[in-house]
Amino acid sequence: MGHGKYIDPLADARSKPGMTTSVIAGLTGNLYQVPAGERLELQFVVLPGESRDIDLSIDLTGPGAQAHVKALYLCNGEEKVNFRILMHHRAPGCHSTQQVKGIAGGCAQVHFDGTIVVAPEAQQTEAYQENHNIVLTEQARVQTRPQLEIYADDVKCSHGATVGQLNPDELFYMRSRGIPEAEARTLQMLSFLSPVVPAGREEEVEKAVRSL
């Protein structure tokens, strides 16, 4: 678990009422099977000070199943954070979202590998994947590989990936109003992360952002 910095998705899935999913921890990662009409929600928070491999394979096996993954990472130093997410739509009318956002400083290395597979029988699929990253230093590295494999024709799918830096115009605008540079950077980073910050962990995330 590592100092409570990391939400164990398995424990999370088990502890939440109303989340009745089959969870199988496989040898190479975590396989989740979401049957008809069920909803899986996973939330990951990786804070500075640890390297993590987050390896997920989610199968939407029954009609109307849903899976929603949110992940936030903040890393610096020599840390390595890897995401491998396979979202497999195997049945019709399923809905999935993936939102992975994070900030890499120091010499951190981040790798995002996300695949959405829509099987031929999975008509009326809705699947969305987003991976947005900010790098703070010349040395930090972020690689992102979003992929779609679609074998059905009646689907709504999109994916988007960006790797960028803090916006200098926004920083200057804030500073010109008297907001100190460090505070302006923090505000910008928090606003960037806000869609993936779990309720109740805002302060912890803010503290971590200030430490970058």
Binding site: D169, E170, M174, S176, S191
Partner: protein
Amino acid sequence: MLQIQNLHAKVGEKEILKGIDLSIGAGEVHAVMGPNGAGKSTLGAVLTGRPGFEVTQGSILYKGEDLLAKTPEERAWAGLFLSFQYPIEIPGVTITAFMKAAVNAKRKAHGLPELKAGDFLKLMKEKMALVQMKPEFAKREVNVGFSGGEKKRNEIFQMALLEPDLSILDETDSGLDVDALKIVADGVNALRSPEKSAVIITHYHKLLEYVQPDVVHVLKDGRIVSTGGRELIDAIEAQGFDQF
């Protein structure tokens, strides 16, 4: 209030300001007029310390201190304000969070305690009313999805809230219809006082019909080529900038 001497500045390798001399006393409103590309916005950018604008010669004294030695935020704390020609959008940051951080940073710099949340909101409401901004804008993300007129009103609202001693209005009148122009002008006029000064940068006389300047300068090709009173505005309106 402000003394600019022989100011030269460049953007990249291009020299834009080629020796500006300008002196503004307390309580004065100066208009800086000029054609596009004259260096008007560069002057505003240099005064507020925008990165990418390099001063190569000359000096700027603000309240007797070296302005160029200060960071952008220090200039704001000292009472300098720029109304942006193109206000920046800050997705994810509400106007309330933005201005609360700004107001409290300035208070802190002056050794004052932070405003209580209730007092801040009351003050904000009052200043928003001044520029006829609807109260729901307090919760909107800064400039995101705002119309041109709403962005400019938001600038004047921020100016009213921060109560600067020297305000620089960079093309605040561009893109405004007559009604919005009047609202902005009323906002600017409401802030005039014997202690507060302003520089109105514009290529157009419109705003100057509502806000009366004490001094008018014509900026052309990086230099001030003429200084006078109201008559300069009429001359520009009649014959353009080519006469200078």
